[in-house]
């Protein structure tokens, strides 16, 4: 049997390079484009077919999912600031969700199983929170490093601890999504490999597990997209409210 991590490797399909950068088109790039076009296409379909007072099926799906994210943003960022950040957070949710779900189609590629992709998302969000913090509070923003109610003697110890916990945020945000997707797909691959390499008498057992874990993976695709967005909201809310 081949290496269970084999299907995470990226092989370029079309070789391209621009000013010394390798911009070859691979399966991962195509999966990302497909995810983008599914999200865009779905919402354009809703808008193009006319937003009605009595919504059709597709409009109900779009309205419920957007309302769900709106509630989340208002809860963590505050109702006054919510409209500014709502489009960004909704985009993250739908894009991550689409990419997770595309990975569930056999033969396609899960781009969220690449640490580079999730790392870039998380680093972007981290830099954004720093910008928001400095724009809103100026130099007062450094106050985030000293939690309220800390005795003066503890401050030299608290500052490195707070810096570490600050840097841990984007890392844990990216590692969580990447690890969950990679682990899930590896388990599926190993179980299906067992099902294929054993006779039918025993093989039905791992095959049954493959089917069950496929269901679990779809649930995890939703949960991980939800966690990624809710934590983005929490981090942005934290720098806006400063304790």
């Amino acid at each position: 049997m081949e290496n269970p991590l084999h299907h995470f490797e990226i092989h370029p399909i079309v070789h391209l390079s621009l000013m010394g950068f390798d911009i070859s088109i691979s399966k991962a790039v195509i999966a990302m484009w497909v995810g983008l076009s599914i999200v865009f296409g779905l919402f354009m379909l809703v808008v193009k077919s006319g937003v009605r007072l009595i919504p059709g099926k597709l409009q109900i799906v779009a309205e419920i999912s957007l309302g769900f994210i709106k509630d989340m943003v208002e809860e963590f960022i505050g109702e006054k600031e919510a409209p500014k950040y709502f489009p960004f957070i909704a985009t993250i949710f739908f894009f991550v969700l689409a990419c997770n779900l595309i990975g569930m189609i056999p033969g396609s590629y899960t781009i969220t199983s690449q640490l580079v992709v999730t790392g870039v998302f998380a680093t972007g969000i981290f830099i954004l929170t720093l910008f928001i913090g400095f724009a809103k509070h100026g130099l007062h923003f450094f106050g985030i490093l000293v939690p309220p109610g800390v005795p003066k003697i503890m401050i030299p110890i608290m500052i490195p601890i707070e810096i570490i916990s600050m840097i841990a945020r984007p890392v844990s945000l990216s590692v969580r999504l990447f690890a969950n997707m990679t682990a899930g797909h590896t388990i599926l691959y190993v179980l299906f490999g067992l099902a294929m390499s054993t006779p039918l008498m025993i093989g039905w057992l791992p095959f049954g597990f493959t089917v069950a874990i496929n269901g679990l993976e779809i649930a995890i695709a939703f949960i991980q997209a939800y966690i990624f967005t809710i934590l983005t909201c929490v981090y942005i809310g934290d720098v806006i409210h400063l304790h």
Binding site: E162, I164, S165, I167, A168, S172, V175, N180, I223, Y226
Partner: protein, 80 residues
């Protein structure tokens, strides 16, 4: 708050805590190691970094737990 969203919130917190704790220790260790390389002072910064990282991880988990208690109190007050 309905039952479904409460369950989702619980799941999201449960999935968070594990990585929250480990990643903080890892970050502390990596930062300590980098400082050691820079100042040529093996192994002091690494040791301090691991301990501070553990503290940071505990702090993160403690904050999440505080969030949960605050929300529970809010819900109970709404119910009464």
């Amino acid at each position: 708050m309905n039952k479904g969203s409460e369950f989702r919130r619980g799941l999201s917190i449960a999935f968070r805590l594990g990585t929250e704790l480990t990643v903080a220790v890892m970050i502390g260790a990596v930062m300590g190691y980098a400082l050691d390389r820079y100042f040529n002072s093996k192994p002091w910064f690494l040791a301090a970094g691991v301990i501070l990282g553990g503290a940071a991880g505990c702090l993160n988990v403690y904050r999440v737990s505080k969030e949960i208690t605050v929300e529970n109190d809010k819900d109970q007050n709404n119910g009464v």
